[in-house]
């Protein structure tokens, strides 16, 4: 560090819980008054659970097929809710033209991110519970059949979902609300490529290498295998977790870089 930099160095601001809880409360209030959020949080998981369970019943030769489809969609909703909480949470500030209002308070970027992460975590739990209740109540399928692999998978997918949210937030910082498409578009692209309901070998040959490098694929593979024969594929779980951690680290780097460019390029004027 140069002498000039040391002279101007400011201590890292402490993380304040009251600011994090204020942002969480603001988003809970705002989302609870937005029918679109109710639909994404409560209706979509139920619809997906009905849809995929029924497909399993109609075309699956055993109960295992229903179980695999239910667990697949349950886990995908973990990523879906984390990503939506992060990306739509920030877009909510953009649509409200609230970015400059937030910038001119003591709220730090880390506190804001933590608040969105907490919101996403709660959304993911609600969503998982709904899928599980529909599967158990209407189809007599126990989605916890994969045992603790399911819990490890869900935790890893939360990390990956947060990485996608960070990517979208970084893009919104640069492109404003036109980057909204990435909030759901990224997930739509990931859904067929990450082997949620089928092994990567079921994809066309040209897409299989793509599926193999997506960390999600490993998690879904390990969970499926655990459902089929109760075995634990440590290597897949490890690769999935490591890949998700790399993705979230890249996401954090990307957002930091975008925040620096946000200040350098004066992008704030697009939000005010």
């Amino acid at each position: 560090m140069t002498a000039a930099a040391m002279e101007t160095a400011e201590p890292r601001p402490p993380v304040r819980w009251h600011r994090i809880s204020a942002v969480v409360r603001r988003h809970v209030l705002a989302q609870s008054r937005n029918p679109g959020h109710w639909f994404l949080l409560l209706v979509l998981p139920v619809v997906d659970a009905l849809l995929f369970s029924s497909i399993g019943v109609a075309f699956g030769e055993t109960d295992r097929a229903v179980e695999i489809l239910v667990v697949g969609i349950l886990l995908f909703h973990v990523i879906w809710q984390l990503t939506l909480a992060g990306s739509l949470g920030f877009l909510e500030e953009v649509w409200s033209r609230n970015v400059l209002n937030l910038w001119t308070t003591p709220l730090t970027e880390s506190e804001y991110g933590l608040a969105l992460l907490i919101t996403g975590f709660v959304r993911a739990l609600i969503s998982m519970a709904l899928v599980g209740l529909v599967a158990a109540g209407l189809y007599s399928v126990d989605p916890t059949g994969a045992g603790w692999v399911l819990a490890v998978g869900a935790a890893t997918l939360m990390v990956f979902g947060w990485a996608v949210a960070l990517l979208v937030v970084g893009l919104v910082l640069q492109f404003g609300e036109t980057a909204e498409v990435f909030s759901w578009g990224t997930l739509v692209l990931l859904m067929p490529l990450s082997g949620i309901f089928y092994p990567p070998e079921a994809l066309p040959g040209v897409l299989q290498p793509v599926a193999q490098v997506i960390p999600l694929t490993r998690i879904f593979e390990a969970t499926r295998q655990s459902l089929v024969d109760g075995s634990i594929r440590w290597a897949d779980l490890g690769l999935g977790a490591a890949g998700s951690l790399v993705c979230v680290a890249l996401g954090m780097w990307f957002v930091r870089r975008q925040l620096r460019r946000f200040r350098e390029q004066g992008w704030i004027t697009r939000f005010s």
Binding site: T8, A9, E10, P13, R16, H18, R19, S21, A22, R25, R26, L29, A30, R33, N34, E92, E93, W95, S96, R97, N98, L100, N101, L102, W103, T104, T105, P106, L107, T108, R260, R263, E264, Q265, G266, I268, T269, S272
Partner: protein, 252 residues
């Protein structure tokens, strides 16, 4: 430079420059605002007011120079500095889907003050906006939204209030009430005011010092009456209009 020693200033900008593409938006401005000082930044559109203001708030990094807010170097010291800063802009709405008291409570919670609920009720009372308390922020008229925005900016009794076009959409009687509230805040708490406005009468009424910008530089800095007299005009509004016409001519 005007005011107290730079170390004691609530805002201290030194040699700040900012260029966007071919446009030199701010071109080497020094500005210090002392505690309790009331300063207006004026100039026609394109003079560099908003860019300067956003640099003073840490939302834009200068290409050159440095900015200190509340003695904290920006951008790293932004969070700590903002504990003592309030900001409102006539063009900025409050968060959608929140009621007025919820929005104010949200911003009160972001500052490290005891009894945020009491802070909200106090400012609602002081600005006489009790009738707006349970209204949705989305349903407010632009004047009402501006008033609530000013409540947000002043409720935590900051040492500096930054206002961008604060009363642009207010009826004259409400604008007067806002000016009175700001003057009271300044008197009672020695809160510094830094504002931009296109309403030169408002600037003259609210400030004791005016910084007139031209092409990103300080054209004049001082007591409004002296700035006007030195430029050979009779009022600040006349000076502003002359400068706006000059700028338009230069562009053509």
């Amino acid at each position: 430079m005007h005011g107290e020693q730079p170390g004691a200033s609530v805002v201290a900008a030194t040699g700040v420059r900012k260029r966007f593409g071919d446009v030199q938006a701010v071109d080497g401005i020094d500005l210090a605002v002392a505690p309790g000082e009331r300063v207006g930044i004026v100039g026609p559109n394109g003079a560099g007011k908003t860019t300067l203001l956003l640099m003073l708030l840490g939302a834009i990094d200068p290409d050159e120079g440095r900015v200190e807010l509340m003695g904290r170097h920006l951008p790293d010291g932004r969070s700590a500095a903002m504990e003592d800063v309030g900001f409102a802009a006539g063009y900025l709405p409050l968060p959608d889907r929140l009621k007025v008291h919820e929005a104010l409570r949200f911003f009160a919670d972001l500052h490290d003050r005891p009894d945020p609920a009491g802070v909200v009720e106090q400012v609602i009372d002081e600005l006489d906006i009790g009738h707006l308390r349970d209204k949705s922020c989305m349903s407010l008229s632009s004047g009402q939204a501006t008033l609530v925005g000013i409540a947000k900016a002043v409720m935590h009794q900051p040492r500096l209030v930054v206002l961008d076009e604060p009363t642009a959409s207010l009826d004259p009687d409400i604008a007067l009430r806002v000016r009175d509230a700001l003057a009271r805040l300044n008197d009672e708490h020695r809160t510094a005011l830094l504002l931009t406005s296109h309403d030169m009468r408002e600037v003259e009424a609210l400030t004791e010092r005016v910084v007139f910008l031209r092409d990103g530089r300080v054209l004049a800095d001082g007591v409004p009456a002296e700035v006007v007299a030195d430029a050979g005009h009779t009022t600040l509004e006349e000076m502003f209009l002359a400068e706006a016409i000059r700028m338009r001519g230069a562009r053509l």
